[in-house]
């Protein structure tokens, strides 16, 4: 238990250091983007947060797979917590994406931005995941159903991305394009720093939330035993 707690603290400290460093560098060191100007700096928050959300969903699906594979119920809580973190970061992606769209194109929402549309679909999907968990009684069956659904989710990510790309062929052509992967070395460095920081933040939150949920569960079991 103490090892787990200290791991959480390590992640928290790393997140703090990396995020502070990346924000400072993103504002004062990285050259301003030639096309988009100052507002492009939201890139150093938006994209790392999006990557972190994907990692959380994948982590949740991996734990779900482990649950179905081994039947060990502790994986259920881990999968649930990972999805929970993924949804929080997913909402942040939608919010930062909306801000970026507003500044770049003058609208809060653009169906031309694939990543945002994908996150909207994923947001709907994982909200349904919470509905599912809430409407099934706690127990091994709830754990397995949630696990199956989160496995659906991780397959839905690439399929939906493909669908959104295909849909552009008949709905409308791509109007807005964002910079490709070609960026200056300093930009890439800060981007990596921010990504590591966000991942560490997610890991720290995951540990805190997981130990909170474990405590809850233990308390419930003790109450049950006591009464």
């Amino acid at each position: 238990m103490s090892l787990r707690n200290s791991l959480g603290s390590v992640f928290a400290i790393a997140a703090f250091a990396f995020l502070i460093a990346s924000i400072a560098l993103a504002f004062y060191w990285v050259p301003t983007d030639a096309d988009q100007g100052f507002s492009q700096r939201i890139f150093y928050i938006h994209v790392p947060v999006a990557l972190t959300a994907y990692v959380c969903f994948a982590w949740g699906a991996w734990k779900a797979l482990r649950l179905l594979w081994t039947g060990d119920k502790r994986y259920d809580l881990e999968s649930y917590t990972a999805v929970h973190m993924g949804v929080i970061f997913g909402v942040l992606v939608l919010a930062t994406g909306a801000i970026w769209a507003r500044i770049s194109w003058g609208v809060w929402w653009s169906w031309g931005e694939r990543q945002l549309v994908l996150f909207l679909i994923l947001f709907l999907f994982y909200c349904a995941y919470f509905m599912l968990r809430n409407s099934v009684d706690a127990g091994p069956r709830q754990a397995r159903m949630s696990a199956v659904y989160s496995l659906f989710g991780v397959v839905l990510i690439p399929i939906s991305f493909l669908a959104i790309r295909l849909a552009e062929n008949f709905i409308h052509p791509v109007v807005f394009t964002r910079d490709g992967p070609q960026m200056a070395g300093s930009m890439f460095f800060v981007f990596c720093l921010a990504t590591v920081g966000t991942l560490a933040l997610a890991a720290a939150l995951y540990h805190v939330e997981l130990s909170g949920k474990r405590l809850d569960l233990k308390l419930k079991e003790l109450r049950k035993a006591h009464s």
Binding site: L68, I121, L122, L124, F125, C127, A128, M131, L132, S135, V136, D137, P140, R141, R144, M145, A147, V148, Y149, L151, F152, V155, L156, I159, S160, L162, A163, I164, L166, A167, N169, F170
Partner: protein
């Protein structure tokens, strides 16, 4: 048991279970008439939702879009009934106890759902051709492919929602995000200049989700 004997056993299990669903529907006539009435009713509603002065090309895209939405909602309507008999008569427990592979239950139910969807489309597509636009071969192929994907995923989710407290309320919420790629593939196959890539996409969706649903169903129905 040899491999081929096991396969034959599996096939006969599936056939018996699918026959049970067909027989139940034939006797009660609950689901299919409701689906037929619903799909025709929604087409009539759509007529009033689409402005009359659209250009021919826009009207075509909008009409086919609405047709696919109608199909999706009809499928949801049918799927909410898919496990009602199993739940109300506690039949699902007996099925899970039966000495057959649990995935056979999924396959049989999926086949039954596909059959119901085909019946609904047998009415919906001619009605659409009568009210809106002519139907061509690629739309029919797209519908055949979409039925497989919708039924495969929908059957697992219907079993999930049948076991939940909120029952029918849960299924549309679970299914809609997963059905978005099907609608994209279907509309694209109906209206795009090169339908082949959309049909290929539907095949991909069917294959991927049929495999996951087939292997995951057991975990959903066992206590």
């Amino acid at each position: 048991m040899t491999r081929s004997a096991a396969l034959r056993q599996y096939a006969s299990d599936v056939a018996v279970l699918a026959r049970k669903d067909a027989l139940l529907e034939l006797r009660s006539r609950d689901t299919v008439p409701a689906m037929l009435l619903f799909v025709v009713g929604s087409l009539v509603v759509f007529h009033f939702a689409v402005p009359a002065d659209l250009s021919a090309e826009t009207e075509r895209v909008v009409a086919f879009g609405l047709l696919w939405v109608a199909l999706l909602f009809t499928a949801i309507l049918g799927l909410t009934r898919a496990f009602v008999a199993e739940r109300e008569q506690r039949l699902i427990d007996a099925l899970v106890l039966a000495p057959c592979d649990r995935s056979a239950i999924w396959l049989a139910k999926t086949l039954a759902v596909i059959a119901f969807l085909l019946l609904a489309e047998l009415i919906a597509l001619p009605a659409f051709a009568l009210f809106f636009e002519p139907i061509d071969g690629r739309t029919i192929v797209a519908f055949l492919l979409a039925n497989i994907g919708l039924a495969a995923v929908g059957t697992v989710l219907a079993a999930v929602s049948a076991a939940s407290r909120t029952r029918e309320l849960l299924l549309p919420l679970l299914l809609l995000p997963l059905a978005i790629p099907i609608v994209v593939g279907g509309i694209g196959a109906s209206v795009a200049d090169e339908p082949a890539q959309f049909l290929a996409f539907l095949v991909l969706y069917d294959a991927v989700f049929a495999i996951i649903s087939w292997s995951a169903f057991e975990y959903v129905v066992t206590e």
